[in-house]
């Protein structure tokens, strides 16, 4: 094993199709026009010395180390900023060039500490490398003034900024601008006083820095250095794997020292992230070895009992015998399982296999139930496939970007950076969101329209957009006639043209001025390429599926499908939402979204799995809770999901969990659900297992074991042991065998294998055969429906039953923040808490004034479902009448307030709309007091187990 560091070509690749041939040091080389001489040289193994150039950012030409000579040309141009041209003859090494370079290096080194042996970068420093490359042997200068005593900035928890080592190459500044798009860094001062400055000469933590790590990655010295490297030294080998946070699915090189992760470095060859990262993936991996990890199996008879540590064999046998006992007592359908988008594809596949074949029912569901299940339904109905249509890179061809109910800079930060790059190039932006997200206005970004609608009125808004397009004759008739079901289109056209859908009529519902909406519709419909990106602000509504269908209708009507730069793009919340759904973790569908009653599919799986399978849909997650309350669902196997924190109307969830006779939790921590459990099976973090994740663009990427599982087993092995104990044999020896089975049973995965993933780095499904390298853009020739035609569906606006009134006059909506992830089980156990240590309630100044509130006041938030208490944050980001909170901390009890209202088609909860009252209080809510006591008791019962060890 080695570090396998990718080559740095110095400048980005040119995408030109025209080729030019030149000669460098006597060697001919042919490259795309626009390629720098530096890159052309690097491509044939000639490394021109460089410091301010790196291939992730545009060339700058400041360090003068990369100078070359060109036959017939004047002077010594910088090879990084000089494009290759036909017939050029370039010399990269001669005495004159060597003298210049040595002189440049001498100046740099005269103001640089000579502490190489004790420097954290030792062995990984481009300045050190260049000193060697130019043959620097002495420094003649003895400067009176230097920067050698400049003070370090240690404010960021993950990296250190040591200006004494800075060579002011601006790579960090340019990375912050070009790669991340935050513009938090600048070069302050001139000449000798020039220095890298976060914000207005502030410490990093006080600046706009979002801690993405792009500057650290770009730094050629130890000026910006990971604290983990400073503490532990340089890594000695690396393994490529995939991030376990959001649905972007960034590729990383886990840089290791033995079995210790020293740092996670974004993989330049990663097709989803192209070498970029965010604060979570880049730095927040410490949870994997946190002291809270539980590494021994445990059982107990009742949740009032102390946990008892037992052997794996005993835990598995106990779990199996309990599940069998419950089936004997309550019936075959009285047990089931919940998988998670935090699980790998292979884990989800064998989990649903265990439930369908081993439990003998279809009571399997996944956390996509509470996030993107409406996407699965809506896109399957209209396009024929439950997935987004594009790859991420497609955004670079979009002329108009329409973001609905998503906050990419917080939820999908790496993709947001790519999107911002396109916006800086001139793409137009329409945002549909009740709240002012960062993209509405941030550095060099300004939305052309922000349609600030009232929560719960999405469908009225999308209908109004479509109404304008239909009545203003902005349809793409050719696309509709050729690619869509024309009869359904005609019916939809008549429906949507009705006056009740006009912007003027819908203004009273949505609160969006008709003229603004008309202008936005015009902008979307007249773009060459218009792309829609959406998130949970679309799906987590009582009409979530209707809205997804409305989005699909809009894209079809304007012909914005089937090519680069367009499409319908659900931004998936967690890393493997797409994959967990693909793998058959919905109770009505086998892998590949095929209904359990479909005769040929049913037969296929019965034959492959050699057992009888149920053809009836099973229980969805909320149905499981309801069934538990009437004693028809009494045993649950829950892997990687924390339903006791993440699901709505949490008091109902807790009551259901208390009612069950056996709750088995497989997780890396004693999460909130585990506090209601009877069996705890310790899980493995993403660093401890092999498998694959599928991101929001259908990209199947490798997850690779970089350290041994702390509890001894990878999660798929645990599920396999349980299956065998239940009497349904499984004998996989590696997850690649599970993927082979997936491929054999699922047409869209037929050409997927570990060999292909390793060879290509990742594969986007559909991948129908061995020759296929995957499908970046879907529906290019035909839709995936049986007749190949896109289906228009009617989308009547139906007001939610969750209405404001005198008692509950405000609407609460929820979301996430950049530094924390979902229920926070991972990120709360990292230094990310310095950015967000508690959930706050954002409230508009008018509503705050009415209630006599100021920032930091404790406020009670009461809904029809329950009450909790948070601290207030007065903010104009929310509109009057709307309040907002995140849900990353269990003690916040955000889901004590949310109700059991859900999407009509999928039961996805209506998290985004809860009528509430807010008032100043002085103490936590009764629920919070009770839950704190319960939680403390449970931790004590856990401690007793540890004490027994």
């Amino acid at each position: 094993m080695s570090m396998n560091k990718p080559q740095d070509f110095g400048t980005p690749a040119s995408e030109a199709s025209q080729l030019v041939t030149l000669e460098i040091d006597g060697f001919k080389v042919t490259v795309p026009a626009g390629t720098s001489i530096m890159r052309a040289a690097a491509s044939i193994g000639i490394d021109i010395p460089k410091l301010c150039a790196t291939d992730s950012i545009e060339p700058f030409g400041s360090c003068r180390l990369c100078v070359v000579q060109i036959e017939g040309g004047r002077g010594m141009p910088a090879s990084c900023t000089t494009p290759a041209a036909e017939g050029l003859k370039v010399v990269t090494q001669n005495q004159k060039l060597a003298d210049v370079r040595r002189g440049v290096m001498e100046l740099y080194i005269s103001d640089h500490p000579l502490d190489c042996l004790t420097c954290s970068a030792n062995g990984d420093c481009e300045l050190q490398d260049m000193a060697g490359a130019v043959g620097l042997r002495e420094v003649r200068y003895n400067p009176v003034e230097t920067h050698l005593h400049a003070a370090k900035d240690e404010s960021n928890p993950y990296f250190s900024f040591d200006p004494s080592k800075c060579i002011v190459c601006s790579r960090c500044v340019r990375a912050c601008e070009e790669t991340q798009g935050t513009f938090a860094l600048t070069i302050d001062g001139r000449g000798f006083d020039s220095k890298v400055s976060p914000g207005q000469n502030q410490p990093f933590m006080d600046s706009e820095c979002v801690s993405c790590g792009a500057c650290v990655q770009a730094c050629p010295t130890a000026t910006l250095m990971e604290k983990s490297v400073i503490d532990h030294g340089q890594p000695e080998h690396s393994i490529v794997t995939t991030c376990a946070y959001c649905g972007v699915g960034c590729s990383f090189r886990a840089e290791m020292k033995g079995e210790q992760v020293i740092r996670m470095v974004p993989n330049k060859d990663g097709h989803a992230n192209h070498g970029h990262s965010c604060v979570k993936g880049r730095f927040a991996f410490g949870y994997a070895t946190h002291k809270d990890r539980i590494t021994k199996p445990m059982i107990r008879a009742s949740i009032k009992d102390a946990w008892q540590e037992v052997s794996w064999e005993e835990a598995i046998n106990h779990a199996a015998s309990e599940l069998k006992r419950i089936q004997t007592k309550y019936g075959k359908d009285a047990i089931g399982g919940i998988t998670s988008s935090r699980c790998t594809n292979e884990e989800v596949f064998i989990m649903q296999k265990l439930i369908r074949a081993g439990f003998g029912n279809n009571n399997v569901d996944t956390c996509a139930r509470v996030c993107h299940s409406p996407t699965g339904y809506g896109l399957k109905q209209t396009f024929g496939e439950s997935s987004g249509t594009q790859n991420f890179d497609s955004v670079m061809h979009a002329d108009v970007i329409l973001i609905i109910g998503a906050n990419p800079t917080d939820g999908h930060p790496v993709f947001a950076s790519q999107m911002k790059k396109r916006l800086r190039q001139g793409a137009k932006l329409i945002i549909v969101d009740p709240r002012q997200i960062d993209l509405v206005k941030s550095a060099h970004i300004q939305a052309d329209y922000h349609l600030k609608l009232r929560p719960s009125t999405n469908v009225a808004l999308i209908n109004a957009l479509a109404h304008v397009i239909v009545t203003e004759n902005l349809l793409d008739d050719a696309f509709v006639n050729e690619r869509c079901d024309v009869a359904s289109f005609q019916k939809w056209k008549t429906f949507i043209a009705q006056d009740i859908h006009s912007p003027e009529a819908s203004e009273a519902i949505t609160g969006v001025p008709a003229a603004e909406l008309r202008a936005a519709a015009l902008l979307y419909a007249t773009a060459n390429n218009a792309a829609i990106y959406y998130g949970l602000g679309v799906t987590e509504h009582s009409q979530g599926s209707t809205m997804v269908i409305g989005i699909a209708n809009l894209a079809m009507a304007t012909g914005n499908l089937g090519r680069d730069g367009v499409g319908v793009n659900p931004l998936r919340g967690q890393n493997n939402v797409q994959g967990s759904c693909d793998m058959g973790s919905f109770p009505h569908e086998f892998p590949g979204y095929r209904h359990v009653s479909d005769p040929s599919t049913h037969q296929l799986f019965e034959h492959a799995w050699k057992t009888e399978l149920s053809a009836e849909p099973g229980l969805r997650i909320p149905n499981m809770f309801d069934a538990a309350m009437d004693s028809s669902f009494m045993g649950l196997y829950c892997e990687g999901e924390d339903i006791a924190q993440s699901d709505p109307d949490i008091q109902h969830v807790h009551a259901a969990l208390r009612k069950m006779e056996c709750v088995i939790v497989q997780d890396i921590f004693l999460n909130e659900t585990a506090k209601f459990a009877h069996v705890f099976l310790p899980g493995a973090s993403f660093l401890e297992k092999n498998g694959t994740f599928t991101n929001a663009e259908r990209r199947i990427s490798p997850v690779r074991k970089v350290m041994s599982p702390l509890a001894g087993y990878q999660d798929w092995e645990v599920t396999q042991m349980l299956s065998n104990a239940m009497g349904y044999p499984m004998n996989y020896s590696h997850p690649s065998e599970i993927m082979a089975e997936i491929a054999s049973l699922t047409p869209a995965f037929a050409g997927v294998s570990y060999e292909k993933i390793d060879e290509l780095g990742s594969v986007q499904w559909p991948c129908y055969d061995e020759e296929s390298t995957g499908t970046p853009i879907m529906h290019e020739q035909a839709f995936m429906r049986d007749n190949g035609k896109g289906l228009f569906m009617l989308t009547e606006f139906v007001a939610t039953t969750e209405k404001v009134n005198g008692k509950f006059p405000l609407i609460l909506t929820t979301g996430r923040i950049l530094s924390q992830y979902n229920v926070g089980a991972q990120t709360r156990r990292t230094e990310n808490n310095v950015w967000h240590a508690e959930d706050r309630l954002e409230i508009h100044p008018h509503d705050a004034e009415d209630r006599g509130l100021k920032t930091d006041d404790w406020v009670g938030i009461k809904s029809r479902a329950g009450e909790t208490v948070l601290r207030a944050l007065i903010s104009e980001r929310v509109q009057p009448g709307v309040v907002y909170t995140t849900f990353h901390f269990p003690e916040s009890g955000a889901n004590v307030i949310t109700t059991d209202n859900s999407d009509w088609a999928t039961n996805c909860p209506e998290y985004k709309v809860t009528a509430v009252q807010v008032m100043k209080v002085s103490q936590p809510s009764e629920w919070q007091n009770n839950y704190q006591a319960f939680s403390e008791d449970q931790l004590e019962l856990l401690a007793q187990s540890a004490g027994n060890d």
Partner: protein, 71 residues
Amino acid sequence: MKIERLIKMANDIGQFFNAESDKDIAAEGVRNHIERSWDPRMRRELILYGQQDGAALIDIVKVAVSRLDPV
């Protein structure tokens, strides 16, 4: 399971399909959706409610429930 909850879920489905002007097609949409996505115990209780009373169901849902296969 609480019948009130099942009625609400069924009526929510009905309100989506109600946009269809041909109410026979609309009812068929509701039936098909419930048949393909509801666990048998949920369908059983809804069928029973439809047979015994059904008053709280909107019209097309009543028709749809009457068409559900016995469980």
